[in-house]
């Protein structure tokens, strides 16, 4: 559905040119929810704007829904944009129009007749759950409701691709979740391809199938969300993964524990997919003569399975501990011995 080949975007500012996107190759399949994560300044905003021609690449080719977005312009580009819609961090609604009129705007642009417009707008309002707010102005809506208007507006012309530019970054955690649920629902129901950029790993974890990590204009890592979570390669990816798998205070907790538990071993287990749902610990205690103390644990759901980490302290006779650890290894659970007592 989307294919970028060796795409580079250079901004010519006074004297020193800025390379916002640097030799990016990207393939996004139809019906996929693809996340691009990076800190601000990584080039992800530029990258997503290359996909609908708001920015033109300096080099390389951009192919979206069968159109060479980097080449076409004028009427052809405007027509192509009706199939590639976009939602924004700050919603970008017209304050002078009501909810209904805002959603009707892209239909007016597409030249849809008025009676049909009204019908389509009503459908969309129902789809995003804004019944009763039809005649409200944006200033009368909450952030979450404004983004729902943005989503309805983006879906008006039945696009093939939806681009989300930090669509939840201005929302509180609860509202973020409800908007993400709506996106997943739309993706499943309409088979829409969604490309989103964010700086929150939580967003990637919750709805994306695949993820690309961006740093300094380059994609440093990409793959299935679960694979990237299990085995992050780049340092920046590891940092992002930590955002969701390890609570802030983990490091301090561990240091504190290492002082406390002089005997036995502190072990970190990482569960992927089905393994996360197996009663490994209770089996461990039953089969081996060891004491297991659960120090900290967390399981997160992603679109392609669950992912969890568990920090435990195993105590007992030395060979028993060894056997226990051997058992865990055989369960195909990723394991890391953090400290020996």
């Amino acid at each position: 559905m989307i294919s970028l080949k060796a795409v580079t975007k250079i901004y010519q500012s006074n004297r020193n040119p800025v390379k916002a996107v640097d030799q990016v190759d990207l393939e996004i399949q139809s019906g996929e929810i693809f996340g691009i994560i990076g800190y601000s300044g990584a080039g992800k905003s530029t990258l997503i704007r290359l996909l609908n021609g708001l920015e033109k690449p300096t080099e390389g080719s951009v192919n979206v829904a069968g159109k060479r977005i980097d080449r076409i312009k004028g009427k052809e580009l405007r027509t192509a944009r009706k199939e590639i819609s976009m939602i924004f961090q700050h919603f970008n609604l017209l304050w002078s129009r009501t909810v209904r009129e805002n959603i009707a705007f892209p239909l007016e642009i597409a030249g849809v007749a008025k009676s049909e417009r009204l019908k389509r707008v009503d459908e969309l309002i129902k789809l995003v759950g804004l019944e009763g707010k039809e005649d409200a102005y944006p200033s009368q809506l909450s952030g979450g409701q404004k983004q729902r208007v943005g989503i309805a507006r983006a879906l008006a012309n039945n696009p093939k691709v939806l681009l989300c530019d930090e669509a939840t970054s201005a929302l509180d955690p609860q509202t973020t979740d409800s908007i993400l649920d709506l996106l997943v629902d739309i993706n499943k129901r309409m088979g829409l391809t969604i490309v989103l950029i964010t700086h929150e790993m939580h967003v990637i974890r919750k709805i994306c199938h695949r993820v690309a990590v961006m740093e300094n204009g380059k994609i440093v890592e990409q793959g299935d969300v679960l694979t990237v979570f299990r085995n992050p390669q780049a340092d920046i990816t590891k940092r992002f993964v930590k955002q969701v798998t390890e609570p802030e205070e983990t490091k301090e907790t561990v240091e504190h524990l290492l002082d406390k538990y002089k005997k036995g071993k502190v072990v970190k287990l990482t569960f992927i997919g089905d393994r996360a749902e197996q009663p490994v610990i209770s089996k461990l205690i039953r089969q081996f003569d060891v004491d297991v103390n659960i120090l900290q644990g967390k399981i997160s759901q992603t679109q392609n399975g669950s992912y969890g980490s568990l920090l435990i302290h195993i105590d007992g006779k030395e060979e028993k501990i060894k056997e226990a650890i051997e058992y865990i290894r055989n369960q195909q659970i990723e394991m890391e011995v953090i400290a020996n007592g």
């Binding site: 609908n52 708001l54 580009l77 405007r78 027509t79 192509a80 944009r81 009706k82 590639i84 819609s85 976009m86 924004f88 700050h90 970008n92 609604l93 017209l94 304050w95 002078s96 129009r97 705007f105 892209p106 007016e108 642009i109 597409a110 102005y137 944006p138 200033s139 507006r153 012309n157 681009l163």
Partner: protein, 222 residues
Amino acid sequence: MAETFLPNVKWDKVLDAAYETVYMTGVSVAATFFLGIILGLLLFLTSKGNIWQNNVIHSIVAAIVNIFRSIPFIILIILLLPFTKAVVGTILGANAALPALIIGAAPFYARMVEIALREVDKGVIEAAKSMGATTSTIIFKVLIPESLPALVSGITVTAIALVGYTAMAGAIGAGGLGNLAYLEGFQRNHNDVTLVATILILIIVFLIQFIGDMITKSIDKR
């Protein structure tokens, strides 16, 4: 009673003069609104980072606007006399004041339009582009509606300035309340006429401000 306090006021003349003032203001405000928006749009759209970014056109329009905005109005009227004579056919009367009024006020208003357009959220323009909007759609369905309160309050200020300009134009033969105050009031030393003309001008100004504020308030949904 009016005769005792205002012995020299001829009400039919006052009424005619008031009508002329309202006429000159009305026509020039309408033309200024139209012309100012065109010039303001041109200034905005050709400026850096906008749809028609073009340094040459922008500089030319900006120069014209600045020149006509800087010439004192009374001098502008005199400079425009040949032009007025050619266009209107006379240099006397209310219609003869119109070219100078419009040419004096439109550049002033164009700057206000430009500022109003610059205040329109860039993100909203980007959103419209991302939907495949043409430039004319962006102008008429995004830029103008989204800046309308500022455009209306701008034209209100300009209209009040134009009332003042009509009085000045009146002094050199355009008619209206300014002409009445100058000829009948000042030159004949009839202070009561000057007073009545002043009060009427004040009423016109207050009315314009009141109507402008009302419209601005009712269209601003932010």
